[in-house]
Amino acid sequence: MKPIESINDFVVKFSNVNGSGSASANELFAKAILRMGVPVSPRNIFPSNIQGLPTWYEVRVSEAGWLGRRGGIDMMVAMNPQTWDADVAELEPGGYLFYDSTRPLPPSKFRSDVHVIGMPLTEICNAVYSDPRQRQLFKNIVYVGALSVLLEIEPEVIEKLFSEQYRGKEKLLASNVQALHLGRDFAREHLKAPIGIRVRRADKVGDGIFVDGNSAAALGCVYGGATVAAWYPITPSSSVAEAFQKYCGKFRVDPATGQNRYAIVQAEDEIASIGMVVGAGWNGARAFTATSGPGVSLMTEFIGLAYFAEIPVTIINVQRGGPSTGMPTRTQQADVLACAYASHGDTKHVLLFPEDPHECFEHAAAALDLADRLQTPVFVMTDLDIGMNQRLCRPFVWEEGRRFDRGKVMTAEELEAGKDFGRYKDVDGDGIPWRTLPGTHPTRGSYFTRGTTRDPYARYSERGPDYIYNVERLLCKFRTAADLVPQPVLRLATEPTRLGVLYFGSTSPAMDEALEVLTDEGVHVDAMRLRAFPFPDSVAQFIAAHDRVFVVEQNRDAQMRSLLVNELEIDPARLVKVLHFDGTPITARFITTAILKHVQAPALAAPRRDPELQP
């Protein structure tokens, strides 16, 4: 079998044991390639476990800049005996299997169509290191060293990364450099290098930044002016709050007094988290919580209260596989309906769908503005794939002098001037009432906030017409939101087509690639990336303009499709499901295959009548 040959376009997967210290070594590998100017997109595929279970790190190298998962593995660094068979089976024909050859394996454990590279990693480390922990940890750096020879990654780049990481810790720096060269020396002397897949310095990274979505969302909250964060730890969202803490420590400490211009509370549970956010929002602070699906479930009563009492709330939902505990460390887009209609009664919530860390930053800041403007809960619907994986993306941008949109808050001066204040009165025709903050004025503008219904002046009322006025105004407000939320991004095919595709969130990079592959196959598809719910009119127009529209999403029940059908009253037959929900991020290959299969099956499109059903 001819070995795969490719420069700057391949996928390497590391198979490790959770807790063995491989994560930093694997990240080092990815970052070194990035520093050589070649785009990479790594993905952690990890268990819900601290130690012992299998974990993987998949790195896609793509000079063309494709950042979605491609599908298929060109090189497997197989460091976990438990998953050996599955790991070996996953390799593309002609791929490379790199393994620890300290202990011999029977021929039956290998495939004849892959290129095997054995290196006695354990033996090498045992010979050099006496400390068991060092033996384990440096094994990872030794294989990175060997890979740098096999794939022609510049060692100077890795050494520079070490020097940045271990600044001021000379001993650690020296020992890591030593381990790196231990691997390099062995590979040069004993292995056939380079192999068919290689890295060559390029200039394709530009001014891109390499960051995870959770950090980016946290930074968006800092820039967007959030001052109160209340949260409860839950995978995969915990690092949002932790990053917020880090950035606040850097940017939000008053230099004169040393006091914090923020408050972060790790609450006792998700219910208290959202309760604190509701209280802070009611009192005029910008507040957010970060959670995942199970957390949203616990928060739903408060979300309903915030919707009905009209209180700004920002919720960053880093989605994972559900329902229930589901797959806590795997990705999905499966909370779409749960969040769109969270709580009981007639509720509808604003959802934003960032595609990458750049948009996590943008949307988090935008959510704080939207929540204040609309006086309602706003969800930022990220997922584990964007949230916990570093992604190459556009740099963050902040327009100097940008103002926060605090929405309709009536001041003491306006009240003093005799401005009519009816807390739930639609004075501007957009469904959004004015509010006052506690403590504003000694005699005017106070009102009672409650979950029970009321008249436009916030007075308790059980009158049907008052209730209808309230809930219809809330609907009007929701329609107003459609123009305020981030608008969809349209990407037309190079030739006129009757086929369209809708997608959103972390599906984006895989879709970008899939569209190009489809074009190469002669299948032209117009694409629209949804960035928010409620859907602006352009979404209905896009669907109307195409005979068939594929809706690509990462859940079992086609939740976005249901939302489109329900909200836009679309004929379901026109929306074709493309669903990926095994917990791994969707691949370009999956999308392409699904669409091609449909397009190439004329029987599916032809009208058919079952003779048995004739009258």
């Binding site: 990274v205 001014d207 891109g208 930044i209 390499f210 930074l219 800092v222 820039y223 002016g225 001052t227 109160v228 209340a230 008053d254 007094t257 040393g258 006091q259 914090n260 211009r261 408050a263 972060i264 509370v265 609450a267 006792e268 549970d269 219910i271 208290a272 988290s273 309760g275 604190m276 956010v277 509701v278 209280g279 802070a280 929002g281 009192n283 005029g284 602070a285 507040a287 408060f302 209260l305 740099p395 963050f396 902040w398 327009e399 940008r402 926060f404 903050l437 506690p438 403590g439 504003t440 004025h441 000694p442 106070s446 009672f448 906030t449 409650r450 979950g451 029970t452 007075r459 009322s461």
Partner: protein
């Protein structure tokens, strides 16, 4: 909850406090609770306390959960913003509100169903966090709004109006508050306004988490023989640890209590809690003694009332979080947003 506003008539000679308000300015809407409900007496005590303390009504934020007691913030301080949240989860909302604006006074009103059952967790965590507030539980041992079910504070062996005997042990919120670190813990009785008003005043001026459990008999469902939360029972079994006067710093006066031990407790804002101990040797600043003393009396079937514990130098959650003196909700872009240049530096560090 009512939509009937009180008529705006004011007697022209009504006495005004130092900030120019009459007692009527501290009232709310007409109560829709049952005639004789203890909760209305507590509302009256809150009105009296705020008027006497010269608190501007709009500087108070009043928050509650769900239930009879939680309806009451509509019946006092009509010029204050109020928030009737969800069942048992008032403490978290109050915590968030407090974090947003530290300069207001926070009054949390709750019930025994609200705080001892569904909201027990939030009650506990608000106490241990030291959220600065006056947290008043209007405790009648029964669910009034749903017509007479036992609450978690109903005493074991007490009877419901329908004759059912409660077999569960009661949750003692005072004991919990003491254990969890509340820095002002009191128990009172809605039928004892002389005791309750200074306790509320002390709680409103306290620097940390202040908790008052007020036995407040439910005239409709829990004021019958067999109930341990009835007017008669509490009057017969009340054992007060002290009589309390609350004295603001600026108008400190000396009161001659006559014989009996007098303990002055000065709080860090200069206010003075003057306690005449009815039980020789009772030290209101000793948390352990308060716990032991309360449990001894509980074992005897007595309801211990008064200021049971106070840490006069208590601090609050803002102190713990080192939060800005300026309220967080008043900070603007210049205070909060690091700006474009900082972002460019950050971008550079991510390459």
């Amino acid at each position: 909850m009512t939509y009937i506003a009180k008529p705006p008539l004011r007697h022209p000679t009504l006495e005004r406090n130092k900030v120019g308000y009459t007692r009527r300015d501290y009232e709310g809407k007409i109560s829709t609770l049952c005639a004789g409900c203890g909760h209305d007496s507590i509302s009256a005590a809150i009105i009296q306390a705020c008027w006497e303390l010269d608190i501007e009504p709009h500087r108070v934020a009043k928050l509650s959960g769900i239930g009879c007691s939680s309806k009451t913030p509509d019946y006092f301080l009509g010029a204050s913003h109020g928030f009737n949240t969800v069942h048992g989860r008032m403490p978290s909302v109050l915590t968030g509100a407090n974090l947003a604006h530290r300069d207001l006074l926070y009054l949390g009103v709750s019930g025994d169903g609200d705080s001892a059952s569904i909201g027990l967790g939030q009650f506990a965590h608000a106490m241990r966090r030291g959220v600065r507030m006056a947290y008043i539980v209007e405790n009648n041992g029964v669910y009034g709004l749903t017509k007479g079910q036992f609450s978690a504070t109903a005493d074991q062996g007490s009877k419901s109006k329908k004759g059912v005997v409660n077999s569960d042990s009661p949750v003692d919120l005072v004991g919990l508050a003491l254990q969890l670190g509340a820095t002002y813990v009191a128990r009172s009785f809605s039928g004892n306004k002389a005791q309750l008003v200074p306790l509320v005043k002390g709680a409103l001026q306290h620097g940390g988490a202040a908790f008052i459990d007020v036995i407040s008999p439910c005239v409709a469902f829990n004021n019958h023989p067999g109930s341990t939360k009835s007017y008669d029972y509490v009057r017969e079994h009340n054992e007060a640890v002290s009589r309390i006067d609350f004295i603001t710093g600026r108008e400190e006066i000396t009161v001659d209590y006559g014989p009996g031990e007098v303990v002055d407790v000065r709080q860090h804002d200069g206010t003075l809690l003057r306690l005449r101990s009815l039980n020789t040797g009772y030290d209101p600043t000793d948390r352990n003694q308060a716990m032991a003393y309360m449990q001894q009396h509980q074992a005897r079937g007595e309801v211990l009332t008064g200021l049971l514990f106070v840490d006069p130098l208590a601090t609050d959650l803002h102190t713990a979080l080192n939060t800005s003196d300026r309220p967080l909700n008043a900070l603007g872009e210049a205070d909060l947003c690091p700006g474009a240049a900082a972002l460019q530096k950050l971008n550079a560090s991510l390459r």
